[in-house]
């Protein structure tokens, strides 16, 4: 490395990031449809909800117009409608709902690990957005 080169700086992981990674790695050991999996989800959910309830951030002004929210509402309704269609159509391997489609992924440890990481990271982000 020449004298002018600056080593790449990596943002340090915070305690919460590390905790989320460790928790996800452990929780992903629990297979879906088991009591340990339910406990793993409910424990993390309760912890983040408790954190969110304690958090005090000054209220922020509303930052999106109704016109900006509308496309997301439409997409959410379409997703719910399509999921309902799949469920009423059969909800089996030939007519899979979203959860059935994701089952092969979530049946593997790496798939569950990614799932837990995404879910916990979203929850952590939601905590940082809490206002009163």
């Amino acid at each position: 490395m020449s004298a002018t080169q600056v080593p790449a700086r990596v943002a340090p992981l915070g305690w919460w990031d590390a905790l989320i990674v460790v928790y996800a790695a452990l929780a992903a050991l629990c297979r879906p449809l088991t009591a340990p999996a339910a406990v793993a989800v409910l424990l993390a959910g309760a912890a983040l909800l408790a954190l969110a309830a304690r958090r005090q951030v000054p209220p922020q002004p509303v930052i999106c117009s109704r016109r900006a929210v509308l496309p997301w509402m439409v997409l959410a309704l379409l997703l719910a409608g399509w999921e309902l269609t799949a469920m009423l159509w059969g909800n089996d391997s030939a007519h899979p709902s979203l959860s059935l489609l994701l089952d092969p992924v979530l049946d593997t440890y790496p798939g569950r690990l990614v799932g837990y990481l995404a879910w916990l990271a979203t929850g952590r982000w939601l905590v940082t957005r809490m206002t009163r």
């Binding site: 209220p59 016109r67 030939a94 899979p96 799932g115």
Partner: protein, 66 residues
């Protein structure tokens, strides 16, 4: 085209549409906004917070535990 493919294409299309709306919102295309900004707005009022946290909990329980 089998029902499986029809359903799969539907979900993939919705995911693609969400990505397009999010990317356009990040690029500043009016009136679109990214999903994160819309969620932040929803969480500025009490019922919105309940809905967002409820959806988050449901997603975790439904897909990871059930």
């Amino acid at each position: 085209m089998t029902p499986y493919v029809v359903i799969l294409v539907g979900f993939a299309g919705l995911l693609a549409a969400a990505l397009v709306v999010d990317v356009l919102g990040r690029a500043g295309r009016e009136p679109l906004r990214p999903l994160a900004r819309v969620l932040e707005t929803a969480m500025t009022w009490r019922a919105g917070r309940w809905m967002v946290w409820g959806a988050w909990l449901w997603i975790g329980f439904h897909f990871l535990a059930r």
